[in-house]
């Protein structure tokens, strides 16, 4: 890997049908680097790849290749090649002709093409398969053809769009190693798209974690794993204990009502934060040795360690430890100050505050939803502020919902999923037991009886 920047994305914005798929992406990729774009489906990782490949054009922003702006350069003139998600081999050509496709277009002499193709097929372990039809190959072999077909053109950058997604686990692991070897051997920049965090951590020099069209964190696999910038990255990168906490003062954090010493500072007094504690950093101790006492709910033997789930004050804790306690027994949960990772919450609030207005007697309208509140006692047209607890928003099927909202992110907080949703250009959070697909629309219903209503104007409540 050198320090030369080969690809530079500056403020890239892409929208489809008015929806922003990429929102101000800035990314510099160095020559010979193995970069992985990691994120859940719908996060914009494939679109980023297609921007570089030339199949999508940016609405705003610039893309530089080797220092030259290439926004308007069509795909066939770019010095990048792509390994497509479903291989996209040419079904009418045999293995040799598939691999030779790019070289033939360059009008290279025949024997040169033959040599290059032979050599590349050898690199991907497909020697002797030249005359085979591509539809007679297995998934793994087709994958190798797709890789050879792209690499034979000696691109400066190879784009790989979830290339191992269709393969079974064992073959995946094999191909991961092979791809890493090929990358080192040929010294080509790889930009690799995946939603598999393990794959990303194993293979890359640099991991780019994306969510909802934005980059969350760029760093080495170690950085991303050890120092995630927020709860989303922590949740996505591996199994973690993520809880809501409050930063009482510097070096003091409150989790589930208990105060712990930590090593973080610089937060506001009583600021709500996300607290991450890795399962492998937790020790199992006697109940009297820790303020956190829980009951072991399950123990799974994982080879090197035991994975225990412990229920403590309504929250599930995940513990990876070489020790284990029998299911049903009481244990103490212990960890040191340096094991507590404090992060800013994904949204800077922990409850929802929404403006509304009294439209008729005892009726309030907010976000296009009308609610009746007996004995409200406010005159018509009074502007009001509603406080909606995250617990009082329920996910329901869209046809009986009050509102359809866009689900931006979802993080498991030990007892509930904390979901960040978008509605009417406003972010809200809700707590739910459901698992939903992020980057999709969901229906929500308010438990209106629990909403706190206060008049916004100076006028006193009657």
């Amino acid at each position: 890997m050198s320090d030369k920047i080969i690809i530079d994305l500056k403020n890239i914005v892409v929208s489809y049908d008015g929806e922003r798929v990429l929102d101000r992406i800035n990314l510099s990729i160095r020559d010979k680097e193995f970069v992985t774009l990691l994120g859940p489906s719908g996060c914009g990782k494939t679109t980023t790849l297609r921007i570089i490949g030339g199949f999508v054009s940016a609405d705003e922003g610039e893309i530089y290749f080797d220092g030259k702006k290439i926004n308007d350069l069509p795909a066939h003139k770019r010095k990048v090649n792509t390994v497509f998600q479903r291989y996209a081999l040419f079904p009418h050509l045999n293995v040799f002709d598939n691999v030779a496709f790019g070289l033939k277009l360059q009008k290279l002499p025949k024997n040169e093409i033959q040599q290059a193709v032979r050599k590349m097929l050898e690199i991907v372990n497909l020697k002797g398969f030249e005359r085979r039809k591509v539809n007679q190959l297995s998934g793994g072999q087709q994958q190798r053809v797709a890789i050879a077909r792209a690499l034979v053109n000696r691109p400066k950058v190879l784009l790989l769009d979830e290339p191992l997604g269709a393969l079974d686990l064992k073959l995946r692991k094999e191909m991961q190693l092979e791809l890493m070897n090929i990358q080192k051997q040929l010294g080509i920049t790889f930009i690799y798209v995946t939603h598999d965090q393990e794959e990303a951590l194993t293979m890359s020099d640099t991991v780019v974690v994306m969510k909802d069209g934005e980059i969350q964190q760029i760093g080495s696999p170690q950085d991303i794993y050890n120092e995630p910038t927020n709860a989303f990255v922590a949740d996505f990168i591996g199994e973690n204990n993520i809880f809501d906490g409050v930063m009482l003062e510097d070096y003091k954090v409150q989790i589930h009502g208990h105060v712990f010493d930590c090593v973080d500072k610089g937060f506001m007094k009583n600021q709500p934060v996300d607290v991450v504690i890795r399962p492998e950093d937790i020790r199992i101790v006697k109940p009297e040795e820790s303020p956190l006492v829980g009951v072991v709910e399950s123990v799974i033997f994982k080879g090197v360690h035991y994975e225990s789930t412990v229920k403590c004050e309504g929250f599930s804790w995940l513990i990876h430890s070489t020790q284990c306690a029998p299911v049903g027994s009481k244990i103490g949960i212990a960890f040191g100050p340096e094991d507590i990772h404090i992060m800013n919450k994904l949204v800077p609030f922990s409850t929802n505050r929404v403006e509304g207005v009294v439209t008729e007697e005892n009726t309030v309208e907010f976000l296009g939803v009308t609610m009746v509140r007996p004995n409200l006692g406010l005159s018509v047209d009074t502007p009001v502020m509603l406080t909606i607890d995250p617990k009082d928003i329920e996910i329901v099927s869209e046809d009986i919902s009050d509102l359809t909202v866009y689900l931006e992110s979802m993080v498991w907080k030990g007892a509930y999923n904390e979901m960040v949703i978008w509605t009417h250009d406003r972010q809200m959070i809700l707590h739910s037991q459901n698992d939903e697909q992020v980057a999709t629309d969901i229906g929500i219903k308010f438990h209106t009886e629990n909403i706190l209503i206060e008049p916004l104007s100076q006028g006193k409540e009657a």
Binding site: P74, H76, R86, P91, F101
Partner: protein, 270 residues
Amino acid sequence: MKKKIASAPYILWMALFTVIPLVLVIVFAFTNENKEFTVEAFTKMGQFIPSLIKSLKLALISTVICFVLAYPFSYIMSRSAEHVQRRMMMLIMLPMWMSFLLRTYSWMTLLEKNGLINRFFGLFGLGPFQMINTEGAVVVGMVYNFLPFMILPLYTVMLKIDKSVIEAAQDLGSNSFNVIRKVILPLSLPGIISGITMVFVPSVGTFMISRMLGGNENMLIGDLIEKQFFGNMYNPYLGSAVSLLLMVIILITMGIINLFDDEEMEGMMI
């Protein structure tokens, strides 16, 4: 056993309406009024050669025009958004809801000496042009009637070409021309062949279009065959012989076209 019972109606249908008529045509072609075996009918066929050549020529021209019109159209259609595709399909199918004869009649009123088109030109002081009763009018009628049969197989086969295969070709350095030449054309070959077959075969044998739009000058082989069976020239023996000849010519043509399709085109979707 079940399979045999289920296919019985089709076998019966085929026997009644395909095999028996075919045998009858062959029998008639080699006999005369006295039910004697003879090749007399074939010796009299010389007079039909010019119309046979004309039929082949016009069918060929129509097929080429249909192909040239349908190919880009099918490609654009197959790459459009789904609701656009449905609308385009609707437009193609719409004329088919009308009777074939009615559609051809409407062309008569358009192309006539004082038909709509000539009247339109008349507004600018042009014409009137002789349009009806020309070879051109017959070709227009054929293209108009048979174009959907070219579009449908092409569209179906192009729909199956994965977008990523086209992107892969671009990725490997193909400009638009090379994408078409090296990927889309070879992958749409099965559609091209069935499209050509479905336009060429009915065009060669057509008789109503040529009679309505071509007049007496442009008698095609189909018209002449029909005349042997209905009308005062009644001679089913000669008619059968010419039909047989036409069938053989079409079979040979199809054989030649299918030579281009000898490779299996499976696995379109990998």
